[in-house]
């Protein structure tokens, strides 16, 4: 950890640092906001920051999913749910900090921080993606030849792991059916 930390700090650019600060601040504001509506809106901003961060770390597929599902759809569903429930007017903007809960969260944060030293730096040749080239490099080398698709993520999801993707699609479908059952309804619209 001590050997790795200066190299990691040196690589953090200004835009990356500002995105990380934005994500941390919006996460804290989500946890501390007294008004639920404000918490939902700030949580949408947090998801948008995470999507930008994923784009910055060259995971555009994950960023698209985060922006569409988490920032867009989840925020809208939470807003619609809030409109059906009750809302209390508050004088205070922020919740008073619950010290036992904050302590538990701090302990979890410290425990997670202890594992940071074992995570390889971005682009490091020690990362498992590069240290096991017989797995990951095989997909990068063979996916276009075997499927004719340029996007390796889609090749893995739809072809090499197609059965898993079928299971995920059925899970999404079953989620809609479960919502019908929970809400005692027989039609979506």
């Amino acid at each position: 950890m001590t050997a790795l930390a200066p190299a990691v700090v040196a690589q953090v650019t200004a835009i990356e640092a500002s995105l990380l600060a934005f994500v941390v601040l919006t996460a804290l504001a989500t946890a501390l906001a007294r008004d639920v509506l404000a918490a939902v809106i700030v949580f949408g901003a947090y998801s948008l920051g995470m999507a930008a961060l994923y784009t910055f770390y060259r995971a555009p597929d994950v960023a698209l999913t985060e922006a569409a599902i988490s920032a867009g759809v989840t925020t809208v569903l939470l807003l619609v749910t809030l409109a059906k429930t009750s809302r209390i007017d508050h004088d205070a903007v922020f919740e008073s900090v619950n010290l036992p809960a904050a302590g538990a969260a701090g302990l979890l944060f410290a425990g997670l921080l202890l594992t940071m030293g074992d995570i390889p730096a971005i682009g490091s040749p020690d990362a498992p993606v590069w240290s096991n080239p017989e797995v990951s490099q095989w997909y990068l080398a063979e996916s276009y030849a075997q499927t004719g698709v340029e996007n390796t993520v889609m090749a893995v999801l739809a072809a090499f792991r197609g059965f898993d993707t079928f299971g995920e699609a059925v899970v999404v479908f079953a989620g809609g059916i479960a919502a019908l059952i929970v809400l005692h309804r027989e039609a979506f619209a």
């Binding site: 809208v76 809302r87 619209a189």
Partner: protein, 237 residues
């Protein structure tokens, strides 16, 4: 305009008990401002769908919606060559429907986009995905073995995957997300939350499916009435 909805669904006892002071205070406010009441639950005032015709949101959505929908189609159809795919594209297309619902009213959107469309998207997507997977099995191969798909001229592997993304995953995701949105906008069928009121008793008294269907139909009729109200309000302008 939106006060009619809330008045229709208010409990009659609530109207009888506290009618005059708070209601007059509410009517003096513009429709987009919540009434100042400290520490009081206001769920009984907002049982209907909150909707105000905004002169900012409606033109903005009119301009943005075609581009956002086209972007969703692009992400879905071009997922093989660029980031994206059926899941992301379906979510974007469902989000366009959410935008339209927020701008023009959830009830009006619900009437425009019938339940048949939502169910057909979700069920048809699941059946199409399973069908594309099972055709190679019928031809003696494995599940989702794309190279056995009977696609002439074109590469069966690439276009089998495109078919899974476009007619399988994207309709499932967009249909289910739209369905969740409309379901949550409706709330419970009993309108009473968890186990309050007599509809909960009728649900518990044992397996009478007609009873539940009658309750659901009553709720749907009431919602249809409010929806037609909002449609007529839009036509008057």
């Amino acid at each position: 305009m939106s006060d009619e909805d809330t008045d229709m669904t208010d409990a009659p006892s609530e109207n009888a008990t506290d009618d005059s002071p708070t209601d007059r205070a509410d009517d003096d406010l513009p429709p987009h401002r919540a009434a100042p009441r400290s520490g009081r639950l206001d769920s009984e005032r907002r049982q209907g769908t909150p909707y105000t015709e905004s002169q900012v949101i409606m033109p903005t959505v009119k301009v943005v919606a075609p581009f956002a929908f086209t972007f969703g189609l692009f992400v879905t159809f071009h997922g093989s060559g660029s980031p994206g795919g059926g899941f992301q594209g379906g979510a974007i297309m469902a989000a366009v429907v959410f935008m339209i619902a927020f701008a023009f009213g959830i009830e009006a959107t619900r009437n425009w986009l019938a339940n048949t469309v939502v169910v057909a998207l979700a069920v048809g997507g699941a059946l199409a995905f399973a069908g594309i997977g099972l055709v190679p099995v019928a031809l003696g191969g494995a599940f989702l073995q794309y190279d056995l798909l009977p696609i002439p001229i074109l590469d069966p592997v690439k276009y089998g995957m495109e078919g899974v993304e476009i007619v399988g995953i994207a309709p499932i995701v967009s249909g289910v997300l739209m369905g969740l949105f409309f379901l949550l906008a409706n709330g419970f069928a009993s309108d009473g939350g968890f186990g309050t009121g007599e509809s909960g008793e009728s649900r518990d008294d044992g397996g009478d499916a007609d009873d539940n269907a009658a309750v659901a139909d009553g709720g749907r009729d009431a919602r249809g009435a409010t929806g037609s109200d909002s449609v007529r309000g839009g036509g008057d302008r």
